[in-house]
């Protein structure tokens, strides 16, 4: 409630800011008629120029080609500087050096607050993003809004679902779990039937843990400007930690890191039976797990209360315009094209899971039958999940740091050194200290 109110307020401020800027622009246009008014995308695109885009999203390549074909005066330099953290390090280096900063950067939702509060990213509300209210699903749209502005346009989203290997469940005569209690039972049955098989792999992943707490209704992070609260003692966190600790205690989770070659192997041969993961997963399964073709299906995320339908976001990223960009109007024009314009369909065709309401609701999208998933209309489940994301979640303005120390704290629980509850308490302590050192006022 409180959070929603704050967000509404923030939106109001952003709009006011946009208005003020528009007014100034009008006032000054008499002095300098050549300068295009902000938001006048067509004339900016007509004038052209060169922008650099740092992104690892593979579908952007086709978008850039289409964009350059449509606006021949614009030259877009697309560079894959690394996935996630690698790119953030490069971006921070470039910003610190004040040289070589791209105009547009792909930033995951969890990392966005960090770059926004560091004033590395430009508020694109005044450039036209403020008018896009309602274009995106609520989860990603609230993720790109920080305090007083809009710091990116959602590129994809990762509403969570339960991907499962149907063969494993059929062979054992198991029902697909709809609650986490049933999930625990299924985990025991799968591992009992084959000691090499597990319901899932987990070696500790900050993104997964925060998403699970998110779904359970926990709100460990609350951010208001530089006032931050970190509290891993709420009910939602407790629910997740208890169930997951049981899974760990009984050795029901495969000690295999996600994205490793063993992981791909396990997904193919049935020794990793499910994935609770973001909606962007189908493309990865199709291209990386040939052996699993026809076996995988998608079901709604298991629930903490039978009959509920709460979900959370897992992963997903936005395209942001950097503060250092000399041509923010043009940079924004590209971002809007890619994430709210014609680029969206190109990316959906390339296998991306969109964050835009129009695409998520389109018949063509929802009714697409996936051969890999035995002809299942996978997007039905995933699009449904997108509408059920629990509201009010916030990431820390130093989440990149927090995630980097996850392994030293919570991660220890996965190797039996401590429990999740204690690990989370350590994580809270470590991030609290860091936040205070960085000039935030952090309370627990």
């Amino acid at each position: 409630m409180n959070v929603n109110h704050r967000r509404a307020l923030a939106r109001g401020t952003a709009l006011a800011g946009a208005l003020a800027l528009a007014l100034t622009a009008c006032g000054s246009s008499g002095d300098n008629a050549a300068a295009p008014a902000p938001g006048d995308a067509e004339s900016v695109l007509e004038a052209g120029g060169e922008i650099t885009v740092w992104a690892w999203e593979p579908t952007l390549e086709a978008v850039v080609e289409d964009f350059e074909a449509e606006y021949p005066n614009v030259d877009v330099e697309l560079a894959n500087v690394g996935t996630g953290n690698d790119q953030y390090t490069a971006l921070q280096n470039a910003i610190a050096a004040g040289d070589g900063v791209p105009d547009v950067a792909q930033v995951e939702y969890y990392a966005l607050p960090q770059f926004a509060i560091g004033e590395s990213l430009a508020d694109i509300g005044p450039l036209g993003a403020a008018e896009l209210d309602g274009t995106f699903t609520p989860g990603p749209w609230s993720a790109v809004q920080q305090a007083d502005g809009i710091y990116g346009l959602p590129m994809d989203s990762g509403p969570m679902a339960l991907f499962y290997n149907e063969e494993v469940f059929t062979n054992l005569g198991l029902e697909v779990p709809t609650t986490w209690d049933e999930y625990l039972e299924a985990a025991r049955a799968i591992h009992a039937a084959d000691p090499n098989a597990y319901i899932a792999n987990d070696t500790g992943d900050a993104g997964f843990v925060t998403s699970m707490i998110w779904q359970a209704g926990g709100q460990p992070y609350a951010v208001d400007g530089t006032d931050v609260t970190i509290d891993f003692t709420d009910e939602g966190t407790a629910k997740f930690a208890e169930t997951w600790q049981t899974l760990l205690d009984e050795d029901l989770l495969a000690p295999i890191g996600s994205w490793s070659d063993e992981w791909y192997q396990g997904l193919g041969n049935g020794t990793i039976a499910t994935l609770t993961i973001g909606a962007w997963m189908p493309a990865n399964l199709e291209s990386g797990v040939e052996a699993g073709a026809g076996k995988w299906r998608v079901a709604p995320m298991p629930q903490w209360e039978a009959g509920a339908n709460a979900t959370a976001e897992n992963g997903g990223s936005a395209l942001a315009v950097t503060e250092a960009s000399p041509n923010k109007e043009l940079a924004y024009a590209f971002v809007e094209y890619a994430n709210a314009g014609d680029g969206v369909q190109t990316r959906v065709d390339g296998g991306a899971f969109p964050a835009t309401v129009a695409e998520l609701e389109s018949e063509q999208f929802v009714n697409k039958e996936f051969e890999y998933f035995g002809g299942q209309k996978v997007n039905e489940v995933l699009a449904e999940s997108a509408t059920n994301v629990v509201e009010g979640w916030q990431y820390l303005p130093f989440q990149v740091y927090a995630n980097s120390v996850f392994n030293d704290t919570v991660g220890q629980a996965y190797v039996g050194e401590t429990t999740l509850q204690e690990g989370l308490a350590d994580w809270q302590q470590l991030t609290t200290d860091y936040g205070n050192d960085q000039g935030f006022t952090v309370e627990n």
């Binding site: 593979p58 330099e77 560079a79 470039a94 994205w259 193919g268 041969n269 990865n284």
Partner: protein, 311 residues
């Protein structure tokens, strides 16, 4: 058998046949060291330890992505897909691998070649000329050998970015030109390998310094040059951290960064896992280095040995 008898006879003849000498006891000398079971086994383990990764690489570059996951790692399985993999590696993403290979070659030729040239000139000068401040240079060079290049990468990055050189090939080539170890090696090598009398003779005959250097000293330095060249080549070829922080544009990546980028694709939402290409690419990447070692090996050995013993 024959040789054993022969050497036994020689040493017996030299020392006089003692009563304890029997056929079962072997004579040992520098040419014929004692055979040690423990040492043989230890060497064997080291040999296997260093060869297994190579064997693994060769075996697995012959597998398709699917059979990589479905088969035992240290033996062949499924279709022999090495040629397919090589073709795919060279053509994937518009042949970017070939571009990376060319970049690496550029960095090696310009960086390692330049570093070697500078080390030869510097080492020769330091070894054969006396000038004030030589001891200070010596101290700096020795100190610089002890500082790993990785530690200097970030300050170098900040400096280069102020000069606007980051994200250009220069950012990789210029730091590669500095090889304190190469300079030190050339210095000690030149001091040993070039008799000062020879230089004096050349000067007496009226050869200019440049001609003395080019025609008298350079040929004598050849083994040392090859050694330094190999060291700097390996260092530049395998360089990862420096290009990682200097380069942003994949078009300028060397192979090390490119392969890492391919590997990271598997961990990217919507990315295509291409483990088979990463493995085949790694195999292709080490081939030139292996070739260089085989071709330059004998120079290298003599280069390492020279300077080790005072004559």
């Amino acid at each position: 058998m024959t040789t054993t008898t022969a050497s036994a006879t020689t040493s017996a003849g030299r020392r006089g046949a003692g009563p304890l000498r029997t056929r079962s006891r072997r004579a040992h000398s520098v040419e014929r060291p004692r055979r040690s079971m423990v040492l043989t086994v230890a060497t064997g383990i080291v040999l296997i330890y260093s060869l297994v990764p190579l064997v693994w690489l060769v075996i697995n570059s012959s597998k398709t992505q699917a059979s990589l996951f479905g088969s035992f790692g240290l033996w062949f399985s499924g279709d022999f897909a090495l040629w397919d993999n090589i073709v795919q590696t060279l053509t994937y993403d518009g042949g970017i691998f070939v571009r990376w290979l060319a970049n690496t070659l550029l960095y090696v030729v310009a960086g390692a070649g330049g570093a070697t040239a500078l080390a030869i000139i510097g080492g020769y000068g330091l070894a054969k000329f006396t000038f004030p401040g030589k001891r200070a240079v010596f101290a700096i060079v020795i100190g610089a050998v002890a500082v790993p290049g990785t530690a200097l990468a970030v300050p170098t990055f900040l400096m280069f970015s102020q000069m606007g050189l980051t994200n250009t090939p220069w950012a990789v080539i210029i730091p590669s030109l500095i090889s304190p170890f190469g300079l030190y090696l050339m210095w000690t090598f030149a001091a040993e390998a070039i008799p000062t009398e020879l230089l004096e003779a050349a000067r007496m005959d009226g050869a200019s310094e440049v001609r003395t250097f080019a025609q008298i000293s350079l040929p004598l330095l050849a083994p040392g040059i090859v050694t330094v060249l190999l060291f700097t080549m390996v260092a530049t070829w395998n360089n990862y951290f420096l290009p990682l922080i200097m380069l942003r544009d994949p078009d300028w990546y060397p192979l090390t960064l490119g392969l890492n980028a391919w590997n990271a694709q598997a961990a990217t939402a919507g990315g295509e896992a291409i483990f088979n290409l990463v493995i085949t690419g790694s195999l292709l990447t080490i081939l030139p280095l292996i070739a260089a070692f085989l071709l330059l090996q004998r120079f290298w050995q003599s280069g390492l040995a020279a300077g080790g013993v005072k004559e």
